[in-house]
C-alpha cells in the first residue's frame, strides 16, 4: 500500500514536469474511437453519484469522471456511461468499459489482476452504529464488544479482522441496503464503511443511526484510496493518470472534493 502510494507520488512528481495532456494521449486506446466509456455501480449512491444519474455530472465520482474526460480531450457528449458489478469488473476477457469508477480501493492483490489509476480520493474508514448502540464510546475496547457487520465485497472485511478484531462473529452482506436491513432488524450493532458512505447511510438511509468515529490514517492501512479500475495492461492508464495528476496540480480535484465531500467533518478519531 505505502509502496504504491510512494510510487504514485513519484509518478505525480515526474508528470508535473511533462507537458499537459494534449488530447491525443487516448487516441486509439479507447473502446470506441472518440468515446470515453465509464462504468459505475448499479445503483450508484450519493455522494458519489447523485440520484443514480452519472450523466448529470453531479456527485463526486461523476464530476471527477467528466473532469478527467475533459482533461484527456473528450467533450462531455463523448462520455458514455455503463453499469457494472464488481465481478464484471474483475472477470478475465474483454471489458465493456474503459474505466470503472465505484469506490474501488486500491490493493496490491487486486492490482495483480486489474490496473488502477492514480488515486482520486482517500477516505478514512468510519464506524456506523445502529440506533441501539449510539452511546458506544469511540474506543477500540468498546468497539470489540459490538456485533459487527459489513459489505462482503469491500476492504472493510479485512480491516475489521486486522484492526477491530471483534469478539463475536462477523455478519457480511451483499450491499448497503442489506446492511441497512440487518441494522433495522437489530441483528448488528455496527458496520464499517468508508466515511462518506457511512455519513450518507446515517443521514439518509438508516433512521436513528450514527457515525461515532473514524479510524486514524495509520491504523492498519485504514486509509482507503480509491482508484479507477482498468483492464490489466490497458495503455489508457497513462492518460488517466496524467489527467489526474494535472487535476491534482491545478486544484480541480481538491475543489471537487470540497464541493461534494465537504461534510466529512465533526467525526472524532477512534483511540
Amino acid at each position: 500500500m505505502t509502496r504504491i502510494f510512494a510510487l504514485t507520488v513519484a509518478a505525480c512528481a515526474l508528470m508535473t514536469t511533462t507537458a499537459m495532456a494534449d488530447g491525443h494521449c487516448a487516441a486509439g486506446k479507447t473502446l470506441d474511437e472518440g468515446k470515453f466509456t465509464i462504468a459505475t455501480g448499479n445503483p450508484a449512491y450519493y455522494p458519489w453519484v447523485m440520484d443514480n444519474a452519472p450523466e448529470s455530472g453531479k456527485g463526486f465520482e461523476a464530476a471527477v469522471a467528466y473532469s478527467v474526460a475533459a482533461e484527456m480531450g473528450f467533450a462531455a457528449d463523448d462520455v458514455v456511461w455503463v453499469r457494472s458489478s464488481f465481478d464484471e469488473a474483475i472477470q478475465p476477457g474483454a471489458k465493456n468499459f474503459d474505466v470503472n469508477m465505484q469506490q474501488y480501493s486500491i490493493t496490491p492483490e487486486r492490482d495483480e489482476i486489474v490496473d488502477f489509476s492514480a488515486p482520486y480520493y482517500s477516505a478514512p474508514m468510519a464506524v456506523l452504529v445502529s440506533p441501539g448502540a449510539i452511546d458506544t464510546a469511540p474506543t477500540m475496547a468498546a468497539l470489540k464488544a459490538l456485533k459487527w457487520g459489513a459489505v462482503g465485497s469491500t476492504t472493510a472485511v479485512s480491516k475489521l479482522a486486522e484492526v477491530v478484531k471483534p469478539d463475536g462473529d462477523l455478519l457480511l452482506y451483499g450491499d448497503n441496503a442489506d446492511v441497512n436491513a440487518a441494522m433495522t432488524a437489530n441483528q448488528i450493532d455496527a458496520a464499517l464503511f468508508d466515511l462518506p458512505t457511512a455519513l450518507f447511510l446515517s443521514a439518509v438511509m438508516i433512521e436513528g443511526s450514527k457515525v461515532i468515529g473514524q479510524f486514524p490514517a495509520d491504523a492498519g492501512d485504514s486509509l482507503d484510496q480509491f482508484g479507477m479500475l482498468l483492464e490489466d495492461g490497458n495503455p489508457l492508464k497513462a492518460c488517466v493518470d496524467e489527467a489526474l495528476a494535472a487535476m491534482t496540480e491545478n486544484g480541480t480535484l481538491a475543489a471537487l472534493e470540497a464541493e461534494w465531500m465537504q461534510d466529512t467533518t465533526g467525526v472524532p478519531l477512534i483511540k
Binding site: 464488481f86 465481478d87 474483475i90 472477470q91 478475465p92 476477457g93 490493493t107 492483490e109 487486486r110 495483480e112 489482476i113 486489474v114 456485533k147 457487520g149 462482503g152 465485497s153 469491500t154 476492504t155 472485511v157 479485512s158 462473529d169 462477523l170 455478519l171 457480511l172 452482506y173 451483499g174 442489506d178 436491513a181 440487518a182 433495522t184 432488524a185 437489530n186 441483528q187 448488528i188 490489466d232
Partner: protein
C-alpha cells in the same frame, strides 16, 4: 463356456475398448484445445490460480463448518415437519378439515416462492418485528426459511410415498382390526417411507447446496467467504475452491442416491 457366452464376452470387451478410446480422445481434446484458446492464460490466472487456492482453501473449509452446522439442524426438522404436513393433508376426519386446508396452503405457498425470497423475507422481516437478541439471529430465521421451503417439497414426496402404497394394504389392516391410526403408523408409513428414501436423498443434497443462500442475510458460510476472498484478491479461484469442497461432499451423496434408486428399480421388476 458356450459359444454364445464367448461371443458376448467378446462383444463386451469391444464395447469397453471403444468407450475407453473415445473417452481418452475427449479428455485429450479438452486438455490440448482449451489452453489453445487466446484468453486461456487470463482465465487460468483468474479461475485456476494455485497460489490463491492455497491461500483461501483453509478458511473456506473453516466456513464450510457453518454450512454443515445449519444443515445438521435443518435436515431432521425438515424430515419431521414434512411428514407431519404430509399426514395433515391426508386426514380423513371431517372435523379436521381445516388441517387439510392448512397443509395444502402451506405446500402451495412455500413451493411457489423462490427459496432466496423466503430467506430474505423471513430472515430480515421477522427479526424486524423487534425480537430481542439472540432470538433475532439470522441463523435462526434463515434456517427457518429453509425448513419451511424444504418441508413443503419433502411433504409432497412423502405424500406420493403414502399414495404409492396400494389401498388394499389399508383395507387389509383395517379388516384385521387395526384402527385408522395404527394402520397408518404400522402398515402404510413404513412402506411409504422406504419407497421415497431415494427421492428424499436428492432433497438432502439440494438442501446442502441451498444452505449457501443464507449468506444473503449475514452468516459467513463458504459462499460468502469465497466472495470475500474474491473481492480482496480480485480473483474467482476461491469460488472454484468452494465448488470443489461442495463436490467432495455431494458426489458421494448423489452416487449413493443413484445406487438406492437403481436398487429400488431392480426390486420392483
Amino acid at each position: 463356456m458356450t459359444r454364445r457366452e464367448r461371443y458376448e464376452q467378446q462383444q463386451r470387451r469391444r464395447a469397453s475398448l471403444i468407450a475407453a478410446a473415445s473417452s481418452t480422445i475427449v479428455v485429450v481434446a479438452l486438455v490440448v484445445l482449451v489452453p489453445m484458446a487466446p484468453g486461456w492464460e487470463k482465465v487460468q490466472k483468474s479461475f485456476f490460480n494455485g497460489a490463491v487456492l492455497a491461500k483461501s482453501f483453509p478458511k473456506l473449509l473453516d466456513a464450510f463448518r457453518i454450512n454443515i452446522m445449519i444443515f445438521a439442524w435443518s435436515a431432521p426438522t425438515i424430515a419431521v415437519l414434512g411428514l407431519l404436513i404430509a399426514l395433515a393433508r391426508d386426514v380423513k376426519s371431517p372435523a379436521l378439515f381445516p388441517l387439510r386446508i392448512f397443509g395444502a396452503a402451506f405446500t402451495d405457498v412455500f413451493r411457489g416462492v423462490p427459496v432466496i425470497l423466503t430467506v430474505y423475507l423471513i430472515g430480515f422481516g421477522i427479526p424486524g418485528l423487534g425480537l430481542p437478541r439472540p432470538w433475532n439471529s439470522p441463523y435462526i430465521w434463515g434456517s427457518l426459511a429453509l425448513i419451511l421451503t424444504y418441508s413443503a417439497y419433502v411433504a409432497e414426496i412423502f405424500r406420493a410415498g403414502i399414495d404409492s402404497v396400494h389401498h388394499s394394504q389399508r383395507s387389509a389392516a383395517l379388516s384385521l382390526g387395526l384402527s385408522e391410526r395404527q394402520a397408518m403408523r404400522d402398515v402404510i408409513l413404513p412402506q411409504a417411507i422406504r419407497n421415497v428414501v431415494p427421492s428424499q436423498m436428492n432433497m438432502l443434497i439440494a438442501l446442502q447446496k441451498d444452505v449457501s443462500l443464507l449468506s444473503f442475510i449475514g452468516p459467513v458460510e463458504i459462499f460468502r467467504q469465497a466472495g470475500v476472498f474474491k473481492s480482496l484478491l480480485a480473483n474467482f479461484t476461491p469460488y472454484v475452491g468452494a465448488a470443489i469442497i461442495f463436490l467432495i461432499v455431494t458426489i458421494p451423496a448423489t452416487r449413493y442416491a443413484d445406487y438406492l434408486m437403481a436398487r429400488q428399480t431392480r426390486k420392483r421388476r
